[in-house]
């Protein structure tokens, strides 16, 4: 997966590049709008991450020209300005997502993966398996090591989210938004409690732990030998 990061602030750009590279992406970094446009038109990227405020061409201008050139590569905007009209402008121009600085890197990573997945949607699975955990999405049933696990609706939704995005660190805000439709930060530890309860049912009795905590960032479901 090849990404382009266009960010004029060097420190931010370098950290983004490092973080994304370590997450397994192939990342090119440019610092001006003009370079971003040139790269985007001449090379095939899977995703562009554009800062809105850049010298030369700004992010919107770059996006306009890329779309005008007939490229429909997904674009994620980064901006320090959080105005509704900015958001609307970006989305009207065909941006796919929008992140306001300061953002958590785990949040950025989660969104990047969502955007990349959007392009090649895998056929809808009805069952998922990780290690000895089997989940039937249609019957809403989870079985580990042949043992049936009773889950509440929300617990099942949480497990399904973690499974679908196995190997990714999911920020608490994303979990709250996807499972409980809480689209704003709440200063409570509900997610911790929810994950703790899910763990009690999924992991506690077993030697191999599937749910992992990425401290300060979020949670991840993974198994060592997962394919």
């Amino acid at each position: 997966m090849k990404l382009l990061v266009a960010e004029d602030e060097p420190k931010t750009g370098i950290y983004l590049q490092q973080g994304l590279t370590e997450a397994g992406f192939n990342v090119d970094r440019v610092m001006t709008g003009t370079d971003a446009l040139q790269h985007a038109l001449s090379e095939a990227y899977d995703l562009l991450i554009l800062d809105v405020m850049m010298p030369g061409l700004d992010g919107w201008e770059v996006l306009r020209m890329i779309r005008a050139a007939g490229k429909d590569v997904p674009v994620l905007f980064l901006t320090a300005r959080d105005g509704v009209e900015d958001r609307v402008k970006g989305l009207e121009l065909g941006a796919d997502d929008y992140l306001v600085k300061p953002f958590a890197f785990s949040e950025l990573l989660a969104r990047v993966r969502t955007l990349l997945r959007r392009g090649n949607s895998s056929p809808t699975q009805t069952t998922m398996k990780i290690a000895d955990l089997e989940v039937d999405l249609l019957k809403r049933r989870a079985v580990r090591s042949g043992k049936r696990i009773d889950l509440t609706a929300k617990e099942f939704a949480l497990l399904e989210l973690l499974l679908r995005r196995r190997g990714e660190v999911l920020p608490k805000s994303l979990i709250a938004s996807q499972v409980w439709d809480m689209n704003f930060d709440s200063d409570t530890n509900v997610i911790e409690v929810a994950v703790r309860r899910l763990r009690a049912k999924i992991d506690d009795e077993f030697e191999l732990k599937l749910i992992h905590t990425a401290r300060g960032m979020g949670y991840m479901l993974d198994a060592p030998e997962s394919e």
């Binding site: 959080d82 929300k154 809480m182 930060d185 409570t188 509900v190 409690v193």
Partner: protein, 459 residues
């Protein structure tokens, strides 16, 4: 007129008023004087003509005329502007004193007792004609009495000249006086201006004194003072807010710096660095969230928060939030109960957030094993949502301030989780207010309740 100063405007108007009054007075005086002189002339002519007729009525023939001449001369001599001409029936001049006049023909034989006037050689004359009858001879003689009124004309010319001169002088003097009057009259206004000019953000506490201001300006000064009070209030709140921001950001920043520096003073193992970074991350997230919250409030203060208008059923929102919060409630054995229903037009995300803040707040202060109840009431005029929880009674002096930014009942204690910056209730209030609602808190007998009230909108 638009660009003239008030003083100039008032001087000008004062001057115009004086000119108008003087002109009317002058013209009236002129007209009255003319009339008066004319009456005087007529009276003189009448009297003299009657005397002349008397004298002449005693003459029987033209020869007798010689005898009455001295009488006539004495009569006329008393008035040196007066002249007399006496004609015979055939038009011959029998007597002319002091000189012969070339009296126009039409006046010469005009016995209709009216007064006539004509001008000749720059002289103005008024005259009267009368026929003298004797007992045996009707219309025996015609007597003409002529008054030279040139003096009167001159008098009026002089009068007019002086009048115009006087008018110009009066206009100038009145303009000057008007200026002085206007300036002194407007002095209070200038003083008000002076005070207003000297106002700065630093001196918003000052007020323009009301006592020395004239009645007409008191309304203005009162409004101005009220504006200052509002500005002052807003400014104080803004300064407090800025001070709070500085303070609230300073704490995590100072943690970050101290912690990082301490860690860097000596070589440590990997876990120590990791620990430091995690701790830093927590502080950074807290700051980031605080900035988000403060930006939300700043936007809401500037009227930039425009809620969407969709119909939102409160009982659904509360049920959804209960699903989320019951996890924590269960941990503490707290029960969540919702009763009633009601809907408003509003922004789903924002109202979610407002109610969520109240619930998380209630969860924070409710003792284990108790019940948090949400009551939704819908009346003809309003929708109310009340979040009630048992807990320590909040003192009345704190109730209003609960919704202020960064306000804490006990300033020394940071309640709840470290990420609770004291902005939650302020955000809730700004959301409620942007939906034209009201929010207030009551507390007593160990029960604290937050009331939200929205106007009922037709569906």
């Amino acid at each position: 007129m638009k660009h003239l100063s008030l003083t100039a405007r008032m001087s000008l108007m004062f001057m115009l008023a004086v000119i108008a009054v003087l002109t009317v007075a002058g013209l009236s005086f002129n007209e009255l004087s003319r009339h008066h002189f004319m009456m005087l002339d007529q009276q003189t002519l009448d009297e003299k003509l009657e005397s002349t007729q008397q004298i002449l009525s005693n003459t029987r023939s033209h020869a007798d005329l010689e005898g009455v001449l001295p009488q006539l001369k004495a009569l006329l001599g008393a008035h040196h502007d007066l002249a007399a001409v006496i004609f015979a029936n055939d038009g011959t001049v029998l007597f002319a004193e002091p000189q012969a006049f070339n009296v126009p023909e039409k006046y010469r034989l005009n016995p209709d007792h009216g007064m006539w006037e004509w001008e000749e050689n720059g002289h103005m004359y008024r005259g009267m004609t009368a026929q003298v009858s004797t007992p045996d001879q009707p219309a025996f003689l015609t007597a003409l009495l002529i008054l030279d009124v040139t003096n009167h004309v001159h008098f009026f010319e002089t009068l007019q000249r002086w009048f115009w001169l006087g008018l110009v002088i009066s206009a100038l003097v009145s303009a000057a006086l008007g200026w002085v009057v206007a300036r002194s009259g407007l002095r209070p206004l200038r003083q008000v201006t002076l005070v207003a000019t000297s106002m700065s953000a630093r001196s918003l506490k000052e007020r323009i004194p009301l006592e020395p201001v004239p009645l007409e300006l008191q309304q203005l000064v009162t409004s101005f003072n009220a504006m200052l009070a509002r500005l002052d209030d807003a400014f104080v709140r803004l300064s407090n807010f800025s001070a709070d921001i500085a303070h609230e950001l300073r704490t995590p920043l100072s943690n970050l710096m101290t912690h990082t520096e301490v860690v860097l003073t000596q070589k440590r193992n990997l876990e120590a660095y990791e620990e430091n970074l995690y701790s830093n991350l927590e502080d950074l997230k807290r700051m980031s969230r605080m900035i988000d919250d403060m930006l939300f409030l700043a936007k809401s203060d500037n009227g930039l928060i425009i809620p969407e208008q969709t119909r939102i059923e409160f009982s659904e929102v509360v049920t959804k939030l209960f699903e989320y919060y019951h996890l924590i409630a269960d941990e503490h054995g707290i029960q969540l109960v919702v009763t009633g229903s009601g809907s408003v037009l509003g922004d789903k995300l924002m109202l979610d957030r407002a109610i969520s803040n109240l619930l998380s707040n209630a969860l924070r202060y409710t003792p284990a094993g108790k019940i948090i109840s949400v009551t939704i009431k819908s009346t003809a005029s309003a929708i109310t949502l009340i979040v009630e929880n048992p807990g320590e009674t909040i003192k009345p002096e704190h109730l209003d301030k609960l919704f202020d930014r960064f306000y804490r009942v006990d300033p020394a204690r940071r309640e709840g989780s470290p990420s609770n910056a004291g902005l939650g209730l302020a955000i809730t209030r700004s959301i409620v207010e942007s939906h034209k609602g009201k929010i207030w808190c009551t507390s007593g007998n160990g029960i604290t309740a937050f009331h939200m009230e929205f106007p009922q909108q037709p569906s």
